[in-house]
Amino acid sequence: MSDQTGSDVAVAMHGIVKRFPGVLANDHVSFEARFGEVHALLGENGAGKTTLMNILYGIYRPDEGEIYIKGRRVTIRSPRDAIRLGIGMVHQQYRLVSTHTVVENVILGLPGNFFFPDRAARRKLEEFSEKYGLHVDPEARIWQLSSGEQQRVEIIKALYRGAEILILDEPTSMLTPGEIDELLGVIRRMAAEGHTVIFITHKLDEVFDISDRVTVLRQGKVVATLETARTDKPSLARLMVGREVLFRLEKRPASVGQTVLRVEGLHALNDRGLPAVRNVSFAIAAGEILGIAGVAGNGQRELVEALVGLRPSTQGRVFIKEQEVTHQPPRTLIERGVCYIPGERLIGLVPSLSVAENLILRNYCQAPFTQGAFLNYGAINEYADHLVAQYSVATPSLKTPVKLLSGGNIQRVILARETCRAPTLLVAAHPTSGLDVGATEYIRQLLLAQRDQGTAVLLVSEDLEEVLQLSDRIAVMFEGQIMGILPADQADLETIGLMMAGAKKMSVPEVV
């Protein structure tokens, strides 16, 4: 595809190389997108998708390579250059000033009237909202908006600047299913108008939902560029991961043991001091996975935090192996064998500490890692080496700060630290959110392995399929309450979906 410089090519990047300390993020990548097409950029985390697009948007400078926009060779030194060339980008973490209003965010950095707010800007903003169905209140402050609304502001921002080429970096990762449908509608409308949309994703379904063509990246290299209609899910997955992917997990029947965790009538408040968990009761036995399904924000986070001692409960009692642990600090719970994989990955780690140091955060104060007042780095490195190999963490070295690892590898570090000592209770919140197929598969298998060796697992996830696949029993949370607990073999998507919407309240059969 190197010599195709036809007039329908909006963007062409040739031989792009970008090195970061210890990582070759883009290795002679060539990429092309046409006018009016939705082009998916597919790859695992760390494959170099975002890096490539950050180069196109002027955030990174490439070490080698050439960029052509509409057939003309360009050098993009900064986002300002990119904007002038008609490129817009919506980052995965929105770039919005959260204390400012929507209009202020949209017109930031644009020339125009010195005085502000000016009516022309607002009128233009409203026109755009109307035209693309991107409805949002111009006077609202960003922090008051939902994730989906914030994304609309980001898209309006790019369009307002006359973006013909729009890059969306994993745009669905923060959206509800309804919001995703709306977004896809907006993307179709833009493409129909002749915009080029580059859609970064690691979700295969989305590639087929929206894209015309797809370019697959693996470990910094382009593996293939294909017409979406002429390929299928398994072959794309193979290209992306580099091997066959299991879409079905092998799951042995559970051999349930004694009750490990028992929760009785638990109540907890959210950050704003409003009730978030209301009268929740359930139990988990050794060797089973209890999945908690629910739309985000229905008290799952607060429940998990209350269970691991990070949030005070206001009422109710918690028992671990029939010993009461209500109101105990995290340290005590850790000693009882409670392990926690937090939903936001960087909460579970100290980002600037090394891989080895993060791996001993739980037990740094025990022999052999500590000798008197000193840390024994010999023992620490030996231990870390072993874990890195066992959990196949891809890291340049044990001394690399974890923040430089990709999402999947960061999650492996957490899992290694939390599960290597056969916990009695494993609390996993959204363990695979934002991870690619390969890492997701690995982590799901690991959770099942934990179950099989007799750990009680509490799995909280917004990914319904994940909950259905892994759990032995499924609890559904709605507005802080448990709507019902079903055995996995009686649970189907429809029943669970209704319960998630709060429509159906089952009597809670106390199993175990």
Binding site: F20, Y57, I59, Y60, S78, P79, R80, I83, R84, M89, H91, R95, L96, V97, S98, T99, H100, E104, N105, I107, L108, G109, L110, G112, N113, F114, F115, F116, P117, R141, W143, K157, R161, D271, K403, L404
Partner: protein, 307 residues
């Protein structure tokens, strides 16, 4: 009693004016995300520069202008260290204060005890200055007092009602956002810090050529630190800066007036900082922080390629 209150109020405004200049400058710098703890240093160098230039030229305005320029240049040192080199802003700012105190002492040796060649005549606003009570209280000051007051609405308007203001605040709240929209984060921050230096220089000048009309070593006596406290007290807002500056100006005046009554000046000296702590406590909550808190990116150097 009424006379006493009037006297204090009248004295509070000139006493608060150098604080007001400094605070307006620091509010601007911090709104862009750069904390400059070098205010004390920039003020005192401004003070000695203004005094020296006024003595040799016989023109106070030249002295004030020179002080502003020198304050601005010192601020650029901090800007280079904290914006370009991304040094810790606290360290760099403290160094600037030390540097300023030492430098002013060195340069100022020959001005110690020198009588002033000239001073500002109070600018009586025609018609209004003869009103009873209000006249002497509001309309008989030197021109710099009025300049400081005039700057308040101007700065407020720029901050909240113009594109410059939105750009400045965005850079202080989220430099990555501003950068992604093509704003030159570095230029905005340099300009804001430079403006902060100009204002601190003028504030220092006010102390030496208007307020005291003499050069005394270490004459800022912590005014720069009160400016830092005031910036927080004012919650990064020019209008509240005006109120705060006159309030603390009044406190400074009271120190001398209340001493004979057995009230320790040290106690009153603490007041600005107690207020500051109170403001920090009140604005600690998430919702309050969004409305009145510090700029989100305050003290965070910006680097585009950070991963």
């Amino acid at each position: 009693m009424w006379d006493f209150i009037l006297l204090v109020l009248r004295a509070a405004i000139p006493a608060g004016t150098p604080l007001l200049f400094g605070t307006l400058g620091e509010v601007t710098a911090e709104r862009s995300g750069v904390l400059n703890l070098g205010v004390e240093g920039m003020m005192i160098v401004g003070a000695v520069t203004a005094f020296g230039v006024t003595q040799s030229t016989g023109n106070i305005w030249l002295g004030v202008a020179a002080a502003a320029l020198v304050g601005g240049i010192l601020a650029l040192v901090h800007a280079f260290a904290s914006i370009t080199l991304r040094v810790n802003q606290v360290v760099s700012g403290l160094a600037l204060t030390m540097l300023g105190l030492g430098l002013s002492g060195l340069v100022g040796k020959r001005y110690i005890g020198m009588p002033p060649r000239t001073r500002f005549a109070p600018l009586a606003v025609p018609g209004l200055s003869d009103l009873p009570i209000i006249g002497p209280l509001f309309f008989r000051y030197d021109p710099l007092v009025y300049l400081a007051i005039a700057l308040v609405p101007v700065l407020w308007f720029i901050l909240y009602k113009t594109r410059w203001g939105i750009t400045l605040r965005s850079v202080g709240e989220s430099p990555a956002t501003a950068d992604a929209l093509g704003v030159n984060v570095f230029r905005v921050r340099y300009l804001a810090v430079f403006f902060g230096g100009l204002m601190a220089g003028v504030g220092g000048a006010y102390l030496s050529v208007v307020y005291t009309t003499a050069w005394i070593e270490g004459m800022t006596a912590g005014a720069g630190w009160i400016v830092i406290a005031l910036t927080i007290f004012a919650m990064w807002d020019p209008v509240r800066a005006l109120l705060g500056a006159y309030l603390f100006g009044g406190v400074r005046v009271l120190q001398y007036r209340l001493q004979p009554l057995g009230i320790s000046p040290n106690l009153l000296n603490m007041l600005p900082f107690i207020f500051t702590i109170l403001v920090l406590l009140v604005s600690a909550g998430e919702a309050m922080r969004k409305r009145i808190g510090a700029p989100e990116a305050l003290m965070q150097p910006y680097m585009r390629e950070e991963r």
